[in-house]
């Protein structure tokens, strides 16, 4: 009740606050779930950044006396078959997984946006040529392309980011292209053309902002996909090379092999993956709604 009565005053105040504060207030008030998602994600991000200080043990510090031990006070998430502390590896793994996930999903989104906007906006012959290229690329199964490219350029964080970014970027360009074609048909695009706006102006001011909802969703879903694909690559020995831990390699490597002896080996990275992917998705949804001026003021 008191909260409701307070609401109008809050809204009028919002005008004087810095934009970031206003945004955070709106996030918490209008999209509580999204706020939780954002917070959870932030915690993981901070854990990743400060992993070196937080990790109780060294990443590759083996302890043969404590192999495959269940979670305890000494080892909060248990130990693996080499006696390495799972918590420490999860924390360091967060660092690597986040870097790979963000860079690759970010790169993928940029690629999708670039291809989708060019193909969708210019249409006609350009669209025809670009889309047949995309078709050709998509006829190859993802994994086959990945294996071929990685075995040529060799495994490593940069290679993984570029290859995964291209792979998801080109596939995602279809979605952006569709959105661009629909936005392009709006009269405001026509109006901008008729006042003599240059193409780049129309793309930046009219097309891109109006396909952002699609792009944000694309980005957040890609993050989960990238983490999982990286796990698949690690399983094939083509991911970020061991012994550097990533959640994917922990899940599909030791986690799978020793699942029956120590369920925590699979549960810890599995749960972390699930939580982060879910958190990013709800946060992305909230972001999409909050950035839409039409949703402003609605609950």
């Amino acid at each position: 009740m008191s909260d409701l009565a307070y609401a109008p005053a809050m809204t009028t105040l919002a005008g004087q606050r810095p934009a970031v504060v206003t945004f955070l207030v709106r996030l918490v008030r209008e999209k509580p779930l999204g706020a939780v998602g954002g917070a959870v994600f932030l915690v993981f991000l901070l854990c990743g950044i400060f992993a070196d200080f937080l990790a109780p043990y060294g990443v590759n510090e083996t302890n043969m006396a404590h192999r495959l031990e269940a979670p305890s006070w000494d080892f909060p998430l248990g130990t693996d078959h080499l006696g390495r502390d799972v918590l420490s590896r999860i924390l360091i793994g967060a660092q690597l997984s986040m870097i790979v996930a963000f860079l690759a999903a970010g790169f993928a989104t940029v690629v999708s946006l670039a291809i989708g906007v060019v193909s969708g906006y210019f249409g006609g012959k350009t669209d025809m040529v670009v889309q047949r290229g995309v078709d050709a690329w998509m006829t190859f199964p993802d994994l086959v392309l990945l294996i071929v490219i990685i075995s040529v350029v060799g495994p490593g964080v940069v290679q993984i980011v570029v290859v995964l970014g291209l792979l998801y970027g080109i596939a995602g360009s279809r979605i952006v292209r569709g959105a661009v074609i629909s936005v392009k048909e709006n009269m405001y695009t026509h109006a901008a053309q008729s006042i003599g706006a240059r193409t780049w102006h129309i793309l930046i001011r009219h097309i891109v902002p109006n396909v952002m909802p699609v792009v944000i969703v694309l980005f957040t879903t890609r993050i989960g996909a990238v983490i999982l694909t990286e796990a698949g690559l690690s399983f094939l020995g083509l991911g970020v090379p061991p012994p550097a831990p990533t959640w994917g390699s922990m899940l599909s490597g030791t986690g799978r092999t020793y699942m029956y002896l120590g369920a925590w080996l699979a549960l810890a990275p599995g749960l972390c993956l699930t939580i982060v992917v879910y958190a990013i998705n709800v946060y992305g949804d909230a972001l999409r709604d909050l950035l839409d001026p039409r949703m402003r003021g609605s609950q």
């Binding site: 009269m187 405001y188 109006a191 008729s194 006042i195 003599g196 109006n210 001026p293 039409r294």
Partner: protein, 327 residues
């Protein structure tokens, strides 16, 4: 008036859209003749109304004049300059001189831009926004001109009513001080009471700024109220051009007569008693228009000649009519 050169003159304008069949081996199997031989002139400061049924080519004519569509043939002379074949670079300065107000006040404003940015966009596009204070002042002045309050500048389009949005669209069209404004059914999406406000606003602005309007509509009452002269279109051709009172009191072309007769009288008793002569049949396909006079398939007064000869727009009194009845 006569010694003054017209602001815009359109001669034998045609816009055809090819109909293509086949994916790899494309061949043209015909064309949609959206506009087929339209000629008219606009004097400075006047309002020329263009009326006709949906699909008769009103909007296509407007888009061709704006050079958003390429004319298949014909000449468009604007401010004494032939603009029919100007390239993209040469068109940019021209875009400052003619602007458009759109029908749909919802679709024509970018939902992610504030009113201030929408109104000021033409200034930004043409590099007139370098001085921020002058730019803001100009936007404020434009908002004032169209009757929007200063504190509305930071709102988004969805926070405005239909009439207010249309005012934003008008302010945007005025930003570059054009000489010609093409209004494509600017009030047909609005409530009747709001229509009057917007039409009056347009007329006030015309008086204040000396604008010339090409006003497209299908609502005859609105067109009569705002226009000086009116052109009636049917199937891509002008069938009659006349002063507004002349057109309404003494329609010459059978199509104009039928169009005016279709307007209901706001009195149910008289409306019921009225001797109605409605046009029969459907509008023929623009892809395959009838030979001769395009209206002969539905014309109550059609003669044998109408089936073979296409009548030209010729003077009749103060009007121009394209009909064999008066030849």
């Amino acid at each position: 008036m006569n010694d003054q050169a017209p602001l815009l003159s359109v001669t034998d304008l045609a816009v055809h859209f090819p109909v293509i069949r086949g994916v790899v081996f494309q061949r043209e199997i015909g064309s949609v003749k959206a506009v087929d031989g339209v000629s008219f002139e606009l004097k400075r400061g006047e309002t020329f109304g263009l009326v006709g049924e949906s699909g008769c080519g009103k909007s296509t004519t407007a888009l061709a004049i704006l050079r958003m569509l390429r004319a298949t043939s014909g000449r468009i002379v604007f401010e004494g300059r032939d603009i029919t074949d100007l390239g993209v670079g040469e068109l940019r300065p021209l875009r400052r001189r003619m602007q458009m107000v759109y029908q749909d006040p919802f679709g024509s404003l970018n939902p992610r831009m504030r009113a201030r940015d929408i109104i000021g966009e033409p200034l930004v596009v043409h590099g007139l926004a370098d001085d921020r204070t002058a730019y803001r002042a100009r936007v404020q002045e434009l908002m004032d001109l169209v009757g929007l309050l200063p504190d509305m500048a930071d709102r988004y389009p969805h926070e405005f009513s239909g009439g207010q949005r249309q005012r934003i669209g008008i302010a945007r069209a005025l930003a570059l001080e054009p000489s010609l404004i093409i209004c494509d059914e600017p009030v047909s999406a609005l409530d009747v009471s709001i229509q009057a406000q917007v039409v009056n606003l347009l007329m006030d602005l015309q008086e204040e700024l000396g604008l010339t309007y090409l006003f497209i509509a299908h609502d005859l009452a609105v067109v009569r109220h705002i226009s000086d002269r009116i052109g009636v279109m049917y199937l891509g051709r002008l069938v009659e051009v006349a002063h507004r009172d002349e057109l309404f009191e003494n329609p010459r072309h059978p199509y104009t007569q039928a169009l005016l007769a279709a307007v209901p009288i706001p009195d149910p008793v008289r409306e019921a008693q009225r001797d109605h002569e409605l046009i029969a049949g459907e509008v023929p396909s623009v892809q395959n228009p009838p030979p001769g006079c395009r209206f002969h398939t539905r014309c109550p007064q059609a003669m044998p000649q109408c089936r073979t000869d296409s009548p030209d727009l010729g003077p009749l009194g103060s009007s121009l009519v394209a009909c064999h009845l008066y030849a």
